[in-house]
């Protein structure tokens, strides 16, 4: 149960090795935090590491984004084991070079299955749990890439566009249930996922994303852009005529 200061007792990170996800968990941890669940496809490679604190139990559990059929049981089991889930962060996702996907449509389908389909099914399972407990906060890591999909990573961008729309709709659907959804739209973030890639303008860090996310959560916001300047920029991008958009040197 969250307290009056917005401090969470139980935090669940879906995508337990995500740099951004872990940074958000670290920012959410307070003296009131009792349990952190790191759900990961490879629990063996997901150390508690920097999230280890005295008095906090870090539970690393296996989780397959593609196995939609297991998601409801997975969430129910977490609640059985740890009590009410205060904050759940959907942070898993794949980023694959577009050229590779062009050559391998099946690989593209898998990416969409993880980034979009898997996020949809597990978020719905979490939403059902939130309704059962009468409270809860879901944080969904979207991306500015979904705001206007660009050719350099259009499969990834499309998966995030779908996820973003879904998460907003879910937030609307949960109004009045005691649960809420925060959609996080970071720009380029220096992390394991983007290692070796050329940084885009306004590149940011997992810590900055985490800081902005926690502030937005405490204020009860529904969306947060990181950095905040990307909001007007992408609002402009969104309305650019196609010929102009295609000529922009966005990689």
């Amino acid at each position: 149960m969250e307290n009056a200061l917005g401090e969470s007792q139980t935090i669940v990170l879906l995508g337990g090795s995500s740099d951004i996800g872990r940074a958000i968990v670290a920012s959410l941890m307070t003296p009131s935090t009792r349990t952190v669940v790191l759900a990961s496809r490879r629990p063996g490679d997901t150390p508690a590491g920097e999230l280890e604190r005295p008095g906090v139990k870090v539970d690393v559990v296996p989780f397959e984004a593609c196995h939609a059929g297991d998601h409801d049981d997975f969430v129910r089991l977490l609640a059985e084991r740890h009590g009410d889930l205060d904050v759940v962060i959907v942070a898993f996702g794949q980023l694959v070079d577009q050229a590779e996907l062009d050559a391998d449509p099946e690989r593209a389908a898998t990416l969409v299955q993880v980034n979009f389909t898997g996020a949809v099914s597990v978020s719905l399972a979490v939403a059902a749990q939130f309704r059962r407990q009468g409270h809860g906060r879901l944080i969904v890591l979207s991306s500015v890439a979904g705001e206007r999909v660009r050719r350099a990573n259009f499969v990834y961008g499309a998966s995030k566009a779908g996820l973003d729309g879904f998460a907003q709709g879910l937030g609307d659907a949960l109004t009045g249930s005691g649960a809420s959804v925060l959609v996080v739209r970071p720009g380029f973030v220096h992390s394991k996922m983007t290692q070796g890639m050329e940084a885009a303008p306004f590149a940011t860090t997992p810590a900055a994303v985490a800081d902005a996310t926690v502030k937005a959560l405490r204020r009860g916001r529904r969306t947060v852009w990181v950095p905040a300047t990307l909001r007007p920029i992408f609002s402009m991008f969104r309305h650019l005529p196609g010929p102009v958009w295609r000529r922009l040197p966005l990689g």
Binding site: L5, P31, G178
Partner: protein, 452 residues
Amino acid sequence: MTLSGWGRTAPSVADVVVASSRDVEALAAIVKDLPARGGITRGLGRSYGDPAQNGGGVVIRLADRVQDVVVDDAAGNATVPAGISIDELLGVLVPRGFFVPVSPGTRFVTIGGAIASDIHGKNHHVDGSFGNHVQRMSLLLADGTVAQLSPADRPELFWATVGGMGLTGIILDATIRLLRVETSRCAVDTTRARDLDDLMAMMDDGDRYFRYSVAWVDLLAKGTRLGRGVLARGEHATADQLAPRDVVDPLRYEPHRVAAVPPFVPPPGVLNHVSLAAFNEVWYHKAPRRRIAQIVSIPAYFHPLDSIGSWNRLYGRRGFLQYQFAVPFGAEAAMRTVVERLAGSGTPSFLSVLKRFGDANQAPLSFPAPGWTLTLDIPAAAHGLARLLHGLDDVVLGAGGRHYLAKDAHATPEAIRRGYPRLRKWQAVRASVDPAGVWASDLSRRLRLVGN
């Protein structure tokens, strides 16, 4: 329905059902049908945190009628349905020459809530807390049966219910010992104290001569004025103390609500460091250095904030916390440390209340114990509040102190275990009448009050 406490923080959604406390069959049916998330009774929602909400479960409200209050003039007691408020009760009692044995800072609490929180008032140093004056009560248990409890009859369950935050069952009604009064006025002595030491010394020396004593402390004053305050001590006025025009009707009781805060207040609220500092300054200086036996009404002395409806809205959308703790006598240094840290942090705090407690009662979860208690309101969005409060918790617990469950909205399960060493005993009594864990609230889950 979305419910939160008076502080308007950490809301959750529950099904709300309403029944009369006299309709035991209907209530028993409600209890029988409670879902896995259980149920909790809610009075007027004046607890600051989350004890009267139950996310995903059921919240039970008692719709009772003041006509069902039975006053026994000869015995000097009243039998009151649990859903009746002290506000309603005073309307019956005062004109008949009685007063409630213990009144908190607001009239808008129910009798059930008063028992479940074992509330205290300005007379704790003389009369103890509310539970001390409960002669008997009936409690609807998890199995649908009604238990009759008194300090002599099933005393363990009686004292587990006093201060038990509604987690032993639904209190249906109670017989309360009353205080006889000659008039509806109070005779109040007001004294200004220049700093905390001065204030505490005055209270140590003089509280015993008054039935009621409370001090307002300015936590925004620093340096040599640290902990300055206004001490207001009083008695129920006798008829010969009244002005001639009031003698005709010495028991006239007409509480007024002078204003109400509109539903819309700018999101950050209007109580901030600047407005509160100005208010505290005026409050301190408008108090006389010393004034003896001023005659004031019951609401003016006991329930000053009740004259402004929904004043909790002034804190804006993110709400506020009330931090109340007690430390034993001998731990004055800890009290001083807390006041210094609060004043030094620049945390905006409305008039804070300092009170000297008398003896504790037997209830394992009753808050008052011999020593000092300080109460302060803080906007929940105040910068650095979480760190400040967790730090203050350590000071309080290190000094052998504790936090008040009816106010708590931020403590950890460990803090409550340290502050209430008899929690395990309470849990054992509770489990004996609710083995399946039917009674549950957001508070009980947050603080792990039930189970381990």
